[in-house]
């Protein structure tokens, strides 16, 4: 009985220690910007047909998650280290720029955005930070802003500036996070990395609408797949096309993420 009691106490102590680890701040707390509620005319026709989407207030990380921040996460959460993560959660190139499972090295600077992370790993990071990945609509809503307008998408100069980034080769050296803020105070929505969204697997892009006619080939219940409406907004449509092609364990060397927290007033 004494052994069992001791065991119970040790297990309880372990549980407490684990709980403390889970809520311990990791160095500097991440900065989130308050995003007020509003409406969004999405580039995705399926959404636009139903009228503008209502976006509730939320808070968004002002910068993409960095290598240093992700290193702190995997240092505390062994199951998300490169050598341990099961294949169903991350493919073979997970964190492959890092020197080791808990070491960054030359090719992964502390203030560069973390890339080569899977959707599952990104979601786990955000959950550990008390949030989640942004939905596509939340991401698109914030990405529509420039330095002074909430929706700059009809400005040809804004479009040209963003589109210019997509012509850079993706193998080029990643810049550190911390570009110019938009009107919400959020940085790097364009021009640095591609980003995971919570509902990446809701982007049912059909390359050929003729696929929808044959009932034996029917994959999508209800209405047909999204067709891309705003064809001038190539920059955002390219993101949709990329995300819709990915599986949740996939990683690429220019795909990172940032987190959101639901509700207003969580700016800190």
């Amino acid at each position: 009985m004494q052994a069992a009691g001791q065991c119970g106490r040790r297990l309880a102590a372990l549980a407490l220690a684990t709980a403390a680890l889970a809520v311990a701040p990791r160095g500097d707390a991440a900065e989130y910007a308050a995003i007020p509620a509003g409406s969004l005319a999405s580039v995705l026709a399926g959404d636009a047909d139903a009228g503008p989407a209502r976006i509730d207030a939320f808070a968004m990380r002002t910068r993409p998650v960095t290598n240093a921040e992700f290193l702190a996460f995997v240092t505390g959460e062994r199951k998300w280290r490169r050598a341990r993560v099961p294949a169903i959660f991350a493919d073979g190139s997970y964190l492959n720029r890092w020197r080791g499972p808990t070491a960054l090295g030359e090719n992964a600077k502390t203030d560069q955005p973390v890339v080569s992370v899977s959707w599952f790993a990104a979601q786990a990071f955000c959950e550990a930070e008390g949030g989640r990945l942004p939905t596509w609509q939340e991401w698109e809503y914030v990405a529509a802003a420039d330095a002074t307008h909430r929706d700059a998408r009809s400005d040809p100069a804004w479009r040209a500036r963003i589109l210019a980034w997509y012509s850079h080769p993706s193998g080029a050296l990643l810049q550190p996070v911390g570009g110019e803020p938009n009107t919400y105070g959020v940085r790097d929505m364009h021009g640095l990395v591609w980003e995971w969204v919570d509902d990446f697997n809701s982007l049912l892009v059909s390359v050929d609408s003729r696929d929808q006619g044959d009932p034996d080939k029917l994959q999508f219940c209800g209405a047909g797949a999204i067709s891309l409406k705003d064809r001038d907004n190539y920059a955002v449509l390219m993101r949709v096309a990329l995300l819709s092609s990915l599986g949740a364990a996939d990683t690429t060397n220019n795909l990172g993420f940032r987190c959101v927290r639901p509700g207003a007033g969580e700016n800190k």
Binding site: F120, C221, A248
Partner: protein
Amino acid sequence: MRPSGTSAFPPCWRLALIILACVGAAAGGGGAAAATAGRPLPASSLYQLEVPLTDQNGLGFQLDARRGQPLLITMFYSSCQFACPRIMDALKRTQAGLTPAERSRVPVLAVTFDPARDDVAALKGVIDGHRLDTASWTLARTDPANVRKLAAALRIKYRALADGDFNHTSVLILLDADGRVAGKTFTIGAVDPVFVRLLKKTLAQADK
């Protein structure tokens, strides 16, 4: 297999493990769980995912409680008028391609995209409406974040529409006894003979 009689765990941990093993055996239901007890899960197993589910009778279970025998898994929602009834029919016809003995060894699990409307009563209504045999069929629900994770792991896409419908991939997926995807079919308008053959082969392998 760990050799019996030796253990890498201190006594305290052994006690915890025994408790866990008992809970696992109770949930898994006898022989199936015993066959896989102690073996680590394959890295590609769906059962790496921790998804708490509730069935049509309101009983809670973990996804990985299904480990130990093959499983047919799909996702659906009950208010769907077109593709989902076809998924149910395709599953029934696929089962009909098996012998009764084979059929009893491939349970079916269908998880809803729509936990907001598909409560336990709605799931029960689908069981009754489609006359699904609960000896092999389980309809289940979980919270929205876990719906997203389960679908992501199964490479199923879905999207809520403004009118309450969902766009979604219609697919039947066969898991082996350890939760690895053995195969899938997108054919839901008719029985897919290749898929039925795969089912029989996977069952034969599970006997070994």
